[in-house]
């Protein structure tokens, strides 16, 4: 059993409310942090090696140290709760069940960054969660953890919850900032980065919910102690939202030392593939990271065991590896069709492209149309190469990473499952009736009925 830092008290009854949360040792990190200097907190976070949990995995302490500190200009911390990546639902779990953990992390982080006005930008689809958060904020304020002169330290902080209107693109930090300002959620062109010019042209740090929640154990344990958990540069614990064809879908907290095989098949976590099927493929970090066939998922191309951490999952680059991403672990069993799956994702990205820059706006729609053709047995062999060419011309040529996110799943599907695409083209009628099957990328594991 791995060590739990975030979800330690998740099962306690009434943990959503202040009294229970406080009794379980909540808000201790605020007491500790307000006695430190903001610089010392940033230094602790740097020492902890905590990496951004939103997907990119950028070191949080480093990001915090970039924030500009011009005289007389307010700074802002924005919590990115626009968790829209298909397959990712860890932030929802945190906010819904332990909202005070996020609030606690926000107060500490706001103090470290000097943000007197802090925002939580939450996606519109989480319609019921703002109420939970606002209640938690009210409770925290009533008990003196928010407002003016917190704990007599002279530090003022207010937290506001802002609802989005339901757009994937608003999870991109600059689009989120635009949306927060009340504008159309189009990503900004960087530079300038939010650390220099963010919300209302003020220095801003945008962090994921889980990152901010993880600040609490970082402060409680101390940076060095926190860094001892995990392995290499993947320190601390990570929430994984597992879904797909597994026996026990849900949110799991792992300490990044367990192997992918253990995560999928042990009863402690996913509990194996549902309905005694075989593992076919998996997207290890949310819909935009490359899909991996079973053989490359469990072992790297070098034949080493693959572990659930940043380095191991991306071992081999995009040729034979994937990414940790946001921790949206989607498992596909032998009955799933990779072409249909890729088509579904392409449809999603087409729908969510903001339409600002041309490669993504036009390319996502084009890819979706071609994939639909292949999926419904109307494809041509040349379409597969065309798809490859389109994704290549989108990737890296767009303003924000949505273009890359749309291109990577298509690229990986063609890279690893080209035979399945070709089978669809060659058997236009059969592909509507049955699934291609497992073929060479199958997991050789014996199925225990």
């Amino acid at each position: 059993m791995g060590r739990k830092l975030l979800l330690e008290h998740a099962g306690a009854e009434g943990i959503r409310y202040y009294d229970v949360y406080r009794k379980k040792g909540g808000y201790a990190s605020v007491e500790k942090a307000l006695k430190m200097t903001p610089e010392a907190i940033v230094e602790e976070v740097k020492k902890s090696g905590l990496r951004g949990r939103g997907g990119a995995g950028f070191p949080t302490g480093l990001k915090w140290s970039f924030i500009a500190k011009p005289e007389g200009v307010p700074r802002h911390l924005v919590c990115n709760a626009d968790e829209s990546e298909p397959g990712t639902f860890k932030d929802r779990y945190l906010m819904e069940f332990i909202p005070h953990l996020l609030i606690e992390g926000l107060i500490v982080s706001s103090f470290a960054l000097g943000s007197n006005t802090t925002y939580i930008y939450i996606r519109g689809e989480y319609a019921w969660i703002p109420d939970i958060l606002e209640q938690a904020i009210a409770e925290a304020k009533a008990n003196g953890w928010l407002g003016k002169n917190i704990l007599g330290s002279g530090f003022d902080c207010e937290i506001y919850v802002q609802r989005g209107a339901g757009a994937y693109i608003c999870g991109e930090e600059t689009a989120l900032i635009e949306s927060l300002e009340g504008k159309r959620g189009n990503p900004r062109i960087k530079p300038p980065f939010p650390a220099i010019k963010g919300v209302w042209d003020r220095p801003t740090v945008v962090n994921n919910v889980e990152t901010l929640a993880a600040i609490v154990p970082v402060i409680n344990l101390g940076g060095e102690e926190y860094a001892k958990i995990g392995v290499g540069r993947s320190t601390g614990t990570k929430l994984i939202s597992a879904c797909g064809n597994i026996n026990k879908p849900g949110v799991y907290e792992i300490d990044m030392t367990i192997s992918v095989e253990e995560f999928i098949f042990s009863d402690e976590y996913c509990g194996g593939i549902a309905n005694s099927k075989k593992l076919k493929a998996c997207i290890p970090g949310g819909s935009s990271v490359p899909i991996l066939p079973a053989n490359l998922l469990l072992k790297t191309a070098k034949g080493e065991t693959r572990y659930m951490n940043y380095e191991s999952l991306s071992d081999g680059g995009f040729a034979t590896g994937s990414m940790m991403g946001s921790g949206g672990f989607v498992v596909l069993d032998e009955d799933q069709c990779v072409v249909k799956h890729t088509y579904t994702l392409a449809r999603f990205y087409r729908h969510e492209s903001c339409g600002q820059c041309s490669p993504c706006r036009e390319g996502t729609g084009w890819m979706e149309k071609i994939l639909k053709n292949i999926d419904t047995g109307k494809g041509k062999m040349s379409d597969i190469d065309l798809l490859w060419d389109i994704q290549r011309k989108i990737e890296g040529n767009t303003i924000c990473p949505l273009g890359d996110a749309a291109a990577w799943p298509v690229a990986a599907a063609i890279r690893h499952f080209r035979d399945e695409f070709e089978w669809h083209v060659r058997n236009p009628e059969e592909c509507l009736r049955r699934n291609y099957g497992l073929a060479h990328y199958a997991d050789e594991r014996e199925v225990v009925a």
Binding site: A167, I169, R184, I189, R350, H351, E352, S353, C354, G355, Q356, C357, S358, P359, R361, E362, G363, T364, G365, W366, K369, L386, D389, I390, R392, K393, G396, N397, T398, I399
Partner: protein, 371 residues
Amino acid sequence: MAEEKKLFKVTIDNITVEVEPGTTILNAARQIGGEVTPPAMCYYSKLKGSGGKCRTCLVEVAAGSTADPRPMPKLVASCRTTVMDGMIVKNITSERVMDARKGVVEFLLINHPLDCPICDQAGECHLQDLSYEHGTEGTRFEFQKRIFKKHDLGPYIQLHMTRCILCYRCVYVADQLTNKRVHGILDRGDHAEIATYIEKALDNDFIGNVIDVCPVGALTDRTFRFKNRVWFTKPVNAHRNCDKCCGKVHAWLRGDEILRVTARKDQWGEVEDWICNECRFEKKNIRDWEIEGPAEINRHSVISQGHYAGKTGTTMPTETFPNIMNGRQPKLLMDIHSVSEVNPPGLDLAAIPGPAHSGDFEGKKEISDKH
């Protein structure tokens, strides 16, 4: 002694130029001019905040600066990236750039109707120029294009959204020139459209400028629609005393008739001075204007073919292509002999007995037998 301003040295396609700090790569390239200037479909130097969207101006930065000579991993939008001292930029010398640009042109065209034969913008369309220079002859897009209905935005402007490439220029014009913007982008992705809120009319004294900034034929002048092809009209410099704007325009004449009035544009196709709606739409009588003389069209445009192309006041036609095309040699778009099936190079016309008929070339003997 005045303090000397430090200039940044930047090398674009092996040509070094010194520019002021804060200049973008695109503007540095424009100082060099010619082929090394990346095309720009959405950037407009007169509109603050424009650019970065169309991705046609992508360039490769081979060395970031003298201090940090690492190359930038991704291609960057030259219109929004400022130069650093010692930066080395590759535009037409980089295969990566040309490949990406070809891709962008293809993306821009897949949903564009390519109705140039009936489009008023044809002849002065930036997308046309771009496709000639960077596009391919054929298309790989085999689906239905997105279509929108035409909208009349008031008495002067028609919006033909199907042709739009979503450059956002008209939105910036309305934001920065008029006091109240009533049109913008609705929806997102490839179904995004320029629209007014519930088909409201655009009525502002300066809103006519959206027609001039539109790189394609999406926003057209209703007073000029289908009146004439631009290359049959003669642009002249004209001015009048206007209390709203500078009053300096290009009047487009056919005979003695003014068919259309536009703002004067510079060599990058950008408006020099914004003009008001009254000058643009209502003063179509030649007596309203004082004609200064033929206008110089600097852009390599079909308009400059056939008539005034030299310096203002010159009556002699300039005959060589490089002269007309501002130093550029014409590009061979296709070799007609290699693509024509009617008269292939290998065909010996003398060997065909009797008068030749179309059937001779296709091997269909029966057609010629009837004769």
